[in-house]
Amino acid sequence: MKTRQMNFFGLFFGAGFGGILAAGTLHEYDTIHAMLRLDEFYVYGFMGSAIMVATAALWLFERKQTTTLTGEEIKLQRSKPQTHHIKGAVVFGSGWAIAGTCPAPALVMLASGGLLALIIIPGIFLGIHLASEKGGLEFGDGEHRQITSSFQN
């Protein structure tokens, strides 16, 4: 796929993701806080149903050996649990509880005019920077992801 097409799809899917989060008010501290206080089922239903639908679809893709639009075989990526997954996730969870947001909703918070997101977003960048200074992992999301040559541009 051409770089320009990939950039378009990046923007398109990013907008879809951000839009869905915004429509569910997941960018609001109050929503996340109510969820973590176990006061509200909403976010659990949201995440749970997203995971169920995605799991079923990806399972089907794998089973039917579906190819991507460019004819590549869809390859799910998995990795074995290691201590850094648990350590990092515990730290992440604490931050999630305190700030009541996570990386994607923080961007939507800014988009919604929530000015305190201007504190959050640089903070997330600083945290990532501090972790990579320590010789952390090269990638951020689901590091079980393999980088195929067609995605290195």
Binding site: G14, G19, A50, A54, I74, H85, A89, A97, I124, L137
Partner: protein, 165 residues
Amino acid sequence: MDNQLIYAALLPERVSWFILGPLLGLLTAAFFLVMNQPLGASGAYTQTLNFLRRNGYRVIWRIWYFAGMVLGGVIVTQFLQDSRGFRSGYDAFRAASPLWLVIPLIFIGSVLIGYGAKVAGGCTSGHGICGVAQRSKSSIIATCSFMSSAIIVTGAIRLISGGNL
């Protein structure tokens, strides 16, 4: 308030989870059909950071993805919902404590978010949704870990704040 009266929002204040959740699941699956990649947010942060400091590995479409999340948020909150304009956010937090305390606390929280997501190799989207949907054991373990730590820390915050938060 006046201008909000003359324009009818297309979307309600909050769309039901049983519409949005499955929609996000389909989006995740569709992303595999197009890009053959998980739909994670913290990776987009990492690569945007690398792009800004012109150092390290970065894929340009992940930066477009980063910008897209803001764009989608702007479209929905500013044009489709009845929530235009600026505000501070953090209503419940600010009702329970003064702003001079909220700002440093949420800043510390956000640093922990970035640090933890980087060390764990993913956040709520990369591990929580895409990773679990790919049935990756590391993602399932990471998701259980951050869910439990977040619920425990929230309980601690509730205790410390005397039940105000």
